[in-house]
Symmetry: C2
Subunit: 216 residues, 2 copies
């Protein structure tokens, strides 16, 4: 299976999409956190790291690439197309204001997946017309406060995607254990959680709890 | 002449190496400033822009690439290897803590120049052992205050480079009209100035003055 098919399959089969966030990881390194994720059976991991220098990111991603490869998990890099190519990542994730999809495709070729963040029905429909392998759908909730659970824009947009978009999709943004069931009820089969996982004292236990909600 | 030879030749022939810095450009866009630089005969321009989103950088660099190409000037992009490849830049400039030179070379191939910032004799000597096309030498002076003109580390290091390093080199860091002659006296044939140029009311007049100093 090539890398794009691998990424699409990991997202379509559903479950938890994990991201790194070292500053919220209770002093643990990205490597420690990713090891715990892989041991808990996570199938797809995105490296998101804006604060380190490029050389540090490169060394770290070489190690994470080896770990994810050994575990058979898909490895995605946020934003840095050059880094994704260099370390042999399975995909690169970009936002609406990053390099255009067509330009990224020219760089990565036909074997590396491109994930695109989308925030509206218009953007999801546009993504289907581009050479994108999956979309991020969110933010479902505010990522600043937990009180925003009922901010309806995200959930309505998730409904739209569940009903109208055939691309693999990942719900993201402010998702926590306590609101994950609602995200599943609105059609998400794959959900991304960041601080809820990397900030858990026991990552394995947290992922077990999240997986139980996803399956119920 | 290929791109690497073009960059090396522009630096070896000496003169002023210009960089963008939109926030110090008195409200002018990078395009306006670069146009003024090219009209003044500048042969090499580096795009340095950390604050804009990737899509904005891409659009801007496409335009700057066209302008520099029409003027026969070399166009270098700071830090973003993917962007440099996409817009057909002549070179990419990296720092000691960015992606390693060998990794950048794998990405850009043999036709695009790599410039590397160096801050010590050890780093300059190491650069000669790598596949680097030119080095930055600095900071010659503090880039924070003008009172640091006599901080000797930069000038001593510049002496070392002038005497011992055969790679093309660019002196950089805190260089202003008032201290440029000193930089030239210590052996610099090519000097980079940032705010002194982009922040000048009359960029053409400023470059004329700087060129006069370089030639004297």
């Amino acid at each position: 299976m090539n890398q794009r098919a691998h990424v699409a399959s990991c997202i379509r089969e559903g479950g938890i999409y994990c991201l790194t966030a070292e500053k919220f990881s209770l002093g643990r390194s990205n490597e420690e956190v990713v090891r715990a994720m892989l041991e808990a059976g996570i199938r797809i991991i995105q490296y998101r790291e804006k604060e380190k220098k490029g050389g540090m990111r490169y060394e770290e991603c070489l190690r994470l690439r080896q770990m994810t490869r050994e575990a058979g998990a898909a490895f995605i890099i946020d934003d840095y197309v050059d880094l994704a190519i260099l370390v042999g990542a399975d995909g690169v994730h970009i936002g609406q204001e990053d390099l255009p999809v067509a330009a990224v495709r020219r760089l990565v070729g036909e074997n590396i997946a491109i994930g695109l963040s989308t925030h509206s029905p218009e953007q999801a429909l546009a993504a289907q017309e581009q050479n994108v392998d999956y979309i991020g759908v969110g933010p479902i909730f505010s990522t600043q406060t937990k009180e925003d659970v009922c901010a309806a824009v995200g959930l309505e947009y998730l409904d739209f995607v569940s009903r109208n978009i055939s691309l693999p999709s990942v719900a993201i943004g402010g998702i926590k254990e306590h609101n994950l069931a609602m995200v599943v009820q609105h059609g998400a089969r794959c959900a991304a959680l960041v601080t809820e996982i990397v900030g858990a004292q026991d990552i394995s236990q947290k992922l077990d709890a999240l997986h139980t909600i996803m399956r119920s």
